[in-house]
Amino acid sequence: MNKIPTALLAFRIMAWVTGVVLAFASVWALYGYLFLNYGAEGGKPLLYSILWIAHGWLYFAYLIAAINLAFLLRFPILKTLALLLAGTIPFASFYADFVMHRYVASLPDKATKKTVKQVPNQ
């Protein structure tokens, strides 16, 4: 069975979930540090902290999805690292999702659908 479409879908889900949480948390952080004195000790609300903790674990799931896809596509190390880091930069994961879909779509059919054609004994 070909694993690339599944891996690509898993990556798309994680890129969007992680990306939305990160974007929301970043905007909140910017607003909080500028206007609500979040720099002071204990000045942050609990929900804010929980959101960042959630991003941390979602990012971990993103890492698994991204590394799985990078391995399947035989990405070189630097390209892989760029893909992994995209989950830590606000809005970068949306772009990464776009690029990955464009890349997979550009591959010849053989690369993504090869197993159907390559069953030898039938």
């Binding site: 204990g42 929980i50 903790i53 890492l63």
Partner: protein, 239 residues
């Protein structure tokens, strides 16, 4: 063909050794980043605990009380209003002897009053109420809210609840009450001080730093997993 032979051949290539060195560097870096967050967690807790241990004037605590304020050391100075005073029966001394607790209203400089558990006296025994200004130190407690319906047994008061006492004395009172630990000046036959029910203030836990510490260490383990997986996939490619 043993699968491990390819694995080890692959592990000895310059690219793999370079990757291994990078992995070690990353693990060391992540370990120290995790330790830094861990130390931050401890430092924040220590700072918060130290801040909550230091006695603050009760007038500086926001009303109504928040759970973090329960158990805080507070100071107050003012005068006891000797008409606003109740004996609460069936209460124990530090030596667990049954007697009465004396609760009085203390009028502080701001003009507000707060209920103060001055201490324990043997049942039926009289005690001195200081005249003039006193300085006290004690521990802030929330009003007793359990058994609210039975707070008053006939005319006898059994719980310490600032709203109930306020109604009884017809004096506005601050939320909660103070269990007095020391008083100056102190008369010879003053009530004997009693231990507070809640003695350690609850401080907000720095969740974010704590979880980031764990996360850095999880990431270090993940990097090791990825390196091994990378070697396994690489060795399969060559067969």
């Amino acid at each position: 063909m043993p699968p491990s032979s390819n694995f080890w051949t692959r592990a000895k290539t310059p690219a793999s050794i370079f990757a291994l060195l990078s992995l070690i560097a990353v693990c060391v870096l992540f370990f120290f980043l995790g330790k830094w967050q861990w130390d931050r967690t401890q430092d924040i807790l220590d700072a918060e605990r130290a801040a909550s241990m230091a006695a603050v004037p009760v007038s500086e605590i926001d009303q109504p009380l928040k759970p973090e304020d329960y158990g805080r050391a507070v100071t107050a100075s003012g005068s006891f209003i000797d008409t606003d005073q109740v004996r609460i029966g069936s209460r124990l001394s530090r030596e667990s002897i049954a007697g009465d607790w004396i609760v009085s209203a203390l009028e502080i400089e701001t003009g507000q009053s707060i209920a103060v558990v001055r201490g324990w006296v043997p049942q039926g025994q009289s005690f001195a109420t200081p005249e003039g200004t006193v300085s006290i130190e004690g521990v802030l407690q929330p009003s007793d809210t359990f058994y609210n319906a039975t707070g008053e047994r006939g005319s006898e008061i059994v719980t310490i609840d600032s709203r109930q006492l306020s109604a009884l004395w017809n004096t506005p009172l601050l939320d909660g009450y103070i269990v007095m630990q020391s008083q100056s000046p102190l008369e010879a036959d003053s009530p004997e001080s009693v231990p507070p029910t809640i003695s350690t203030a609850d401080v907000a836990f720095p969740l974010q730093n704590f979880f980031y510490a764990i996360q850095w260490w999880v990431f270090a383990l993940f990097a090791i997993t990825i390196y091994i997986r990378w070697l396994v996939i690489g060795s399969k490619l060559r067969t």
